[in-house]
C-alpha cells in the first residue's frame, strides 16, 4: 500500500473519532467538546465559556456554519446534523455591529 494512502486512512480515522468542534469566537478559535446530536445552544455556551466571553448572553451572538457573509445564521435550537455539519466543521460566533447612529 502506498504510504500516502496509509496517511489518508489515518486522517479519516482521526476525523471519525473527533469529539471536539472548532468554534471561532470573535476571531479566537477554541475547541469545545461536542456531539452532533446536541442543541447548538449548548455548543454556543461552551464556546463562550472556553473563550472567556461570558459578559454577554448567548442571544447576543450569531452562530454561522462558515465565515462567509452569505451563510445563514444557525438556530440555537437546532443540531449540527440539521445543517449537514459535522464535528470536522468550523463554526463562527460573532457579534453584530453597534453604531452608525442606529444602535
Amino acid at each position: 500500500m502506498h504510504p500516502r494512502m496509509v496517511t489518508h486512512q489515518a486522517e479519516g480515522l482521526r476525523m471519525n473519532t473527533k469529539d471536539t468542534l472548532t468554534v471561532v469566537v470573535s476571531g479566537t478559535p477554541v475547541e469545545v467538546k461536542a456531539n452532533e446530536n446536541e442543541e447548538l445552544l449548548v455548543i454556543i455556551k461552551e464556546a463562550l465559556k472556553e473563550a472567556k466571553q461570558t459578559a454577554r448572553p448567548p442571544e447576543d451572538w450569531t452562530l454561522r456554519g462558515s465565515a462567509d457573509e452569505n451563510s445563514t445564521a444557525l438556530s440555537p435550537k437546532s443540531k449540527l446534523r440539521d445543517y449537514g455539519l459535522t464535528l470536522a466543521s468550523t463554526l463562527w460566533l460573532s457579534l453584530g455591529s453597534g453604531g452608525g447612529g442606529a444602535q
Binding site: 471561532v24 469566537v25 470573535s26 476571531g27 479566537t28 478559535p29 473563550a51 466571553q53 459578559a55 454577554r56 451572538w61 465565515a67 462567509d68 457573509e69 452569505n70 468550523t90 460573532s94 457579534l95 453584530g96 455591529s97 453597534g98 453604531g99 452608525g100 447612529g101 442606529a102 444602535q103
Partner: protein, 243 residues
C-alpha cells in the same frame, strides 16, 4: 449605473490625501517597536507616515507597553490561526508591527478582483483604549479623505457606518473602535463598558468592515459624461447589506 452613488451623501469635494497633515512624530521611548510579521523598513515608514494622528497618541502611552504588546500578539496570533479563511474572503495582512496592523481588502466576488482599500488598526494602549481604525490607500498607504473612500460601509435601514468630522478624515462609527467612543456624541457609550466582551477585537473590526463595506459590492459600473467614460465600482447589492 452611477459610480458616484457610492460616495457618502455628505461627501464634500475631494481634498486629497495631501490635505491630511503629514508630520513626523517619533513614538515615545517606552514603546518597543518589534516586528511580529514581515520585515520592511520602507513599509514601516509608509505605515507610520500614514497614521499621523495615531502616532500622536503614542506620546500618551498609559498602559505598560508589554501588556498592550501581549494583547496585540494575541490578536495577531488569532488572525494567523484562521488566515487561510480570511484570505479567501479577500483580507490580506500586509504587516503586523506593534502597535499597528495593516490589512488590505480585496473583493474576490468581483472578477477581475479589485483591491478596495487598506486599513491600519492601531493597538496603542489596548485594551484600556479601543483599537483605532484608519483608512488608507492600498498601495501608498496614504490616509484617505472621506471623498476618496470607495465604499460607505452601508447598514440596512440606518445611516452608513462611515462618518467624518469637518476635517473630512473618515472614521468607522462602530462600537469597539476608538474613534466611535472618543466622539462627543457617544460619551454615554464608553469603551470600558465593552472591553473584554468580544467587541473591538481585530477580527470583529475586520469582519464589520468586510460585511458592510466589501461583501455588498457586486461589480464594476461605468458613467458616461461629456464623451468621457469613467469606470468605478458599481452600487452595492441591497440584499447583501447587513442590518
Amino acid at each position: 449605473m452611477n459610480s458616484q452613488s457610492l460616495k457618502p451623501q455628505s461627501a464634500e469635494p475631494v481634498t486629497g490625501a495631501g490635505s491630511v497633515p503629514q508630520r513626523s512624530i517619533e513614538p515615545a521611548p517606552s514603546v518597543q517597536r518589534d516586528e511580529t510579521v514581515g520585515s520592511s523598513d520602507s513599509l514601516d515608514r509608509a505605515i507610520a507616515a500614514s497614521s499621523d494622528v495615531v502616532r500622536r497618541d503614542l506620546s500618551l502611552q498609559l498602559v505598560d507597553p508589554s501588556v498592550s504588546r501581549a494583547k496585540f500578539d494575541r490578536e495577531v496570533r488569532n488572525y494567523r490561526a484562521m488566515e487561510s479563511e480570511y484570505l479567501r474572503r479577500g483580507w490580506i495582512l500586509l504587516q503586523a508591527t506593534f502597535p499597528q496592523v495593516a490589512v488590505l481588502f480585496a473583493a474576490p466576488q468581483i472578477v477581475p478582483t479589485p483591491i478596495i482599500l487598506g486599513v491600519i488598526v492601531d493597538f496603542t494602549n489596548y485594551d484600556f483604549w479601543a483599537a483605532s481604525v484608519r483608512f488608507v490607500h492600498p498601495f501608498t498607504l496614504a490616509p484617505l479623505s472621506l471623498g476618496e473612500m470607495p465604499t460607505a460601509f452601508w447598514k440596512r435601514n440606518a445611516p452608513p457606518l462611515l462618518q467624518s468630522h469637518q476635517d473630512q478624515v473618515p472614521f468607522l462609527c462602530v462600537r469597539g473602535v476608538r474613534e466611535y467612543h472618543n466622539h462627543p456624541a457617544h460619551s454615554n457609550d464608553p469603551w470600558l463598558a465593552y472591553r473584554g466582551t468580544g467587541v473591538g477585537t481585530l477580527y470583529q473590526i475586520l469582519d464589520i468592515l468586510h460585511r458592510h463595506g466589501i461583501a455588498p459590492l457586486t461589480g464594476f459600473g461605468f458613467q458616461v459624461t461629456s464623451m468621457q467614460v469613467q469606470i468605478g465600482l458599481g452600487p452595492p447589492d441591497p440584499t447583501k447589506v447587513p442590518e
